[in-house]
Amino acid sequence: MADPMRIRAQAAGDKATVRVLMSHEMETGQRKDAGGKTIPAWFIQEVSATHNGKPVLNAQWGPSISKNPFLQFVVRGAKAGDKIAVSWVDNRGDKRTDEATVS
């Protein structure tokens, strides 16, 4: 089970800024371990976000994204008390969803 994400969502005017930190190794598949064996690729492939259950973001990620990635985006029309949920799926099929309330 992957570690939880840290999601902060802050409303300002008619939009909310969402900041997400994900805990993930993001192995590229290019690195070798101390024994010279290739470390298999392991990275987040799909990221999606919903605002009160309605999809607002969908992204395809690859091995060029950093370890423990940080994602920031703006949701128009989101106000305090709304729910923002973020999910990711990695190339091993592991997934994680976390939710935050806009403040």
Partner: protein, 267 residues
Amino acid sequence: MTTLLRLTALALAATAALAAQAQKSAADGIAEYRKMLEDGNPAELFEAKGEDLWQQARGPKKATLQRCDLGLGPGVVKGAWVQLPRYFADTGRVQDLESRLLTCMATLQGFDAAQIARTPFDQGEQATLAALAAWISSQSRGMKMALPQGHAEERRFYELGKRAFFYRGGPMDFSCASCHGEAGKRIRLQDLPQLSTNPGDGVGFAAWPAYRVSSGEMWSMQRRLNDCFRQQRFPYPGFASDVTVALGVYMGVNAKGAESIAPAIKR
């Protein structure tokens, strides 16, 4: 004519912009980069993990660390970090955060402290230590470094640390002071804090533990020191050994009054 004038104006503006860019030093560039990263410091992920590990019943004794005494009484975490390393009467030793956590994990949870000290960084219980250090230091963020020097052992460790700091040796005849003994030094683009005096708020001792972006790892002060020894081509120090604690006392006491920003983010 108007076009020509406009072009000249544009060219002038471009030159001015270029000049402004040239004046920006490498250090400014790095400071800007750090500022951008600060908003999403992955150290937060480790803080969350550490907070959870503190409350979890773990180890052979299935106990939590909630009764661990970090110097301000059992279970008091807030403000503990800015007063470490310090003397502990129960162990009769001056201890830094990591060595104190080892003591707590051994006495409260039943872990084998020597075994953990031998474990490579980032593996097994060493990863636990890094996360705990991240969370505990975060509970003193914004406070001022205030290491106690009341006990004779604490003063002895300061002197020991000072000696270690200026001790030259190894194939390159290096000491800590070779890099950190005067102001205005750098390695490639990294400014080096002068640690024989107070380097100021959020610099040097007041900035570790920190998340290293380049390696994606959470580094405690112990790991930072371990790497300093490697860079000097010294033999690796033992984890939580007296010399590493003494260096901590030396740097920490020198940084008295500096604001702690730990866990920080580094390139």
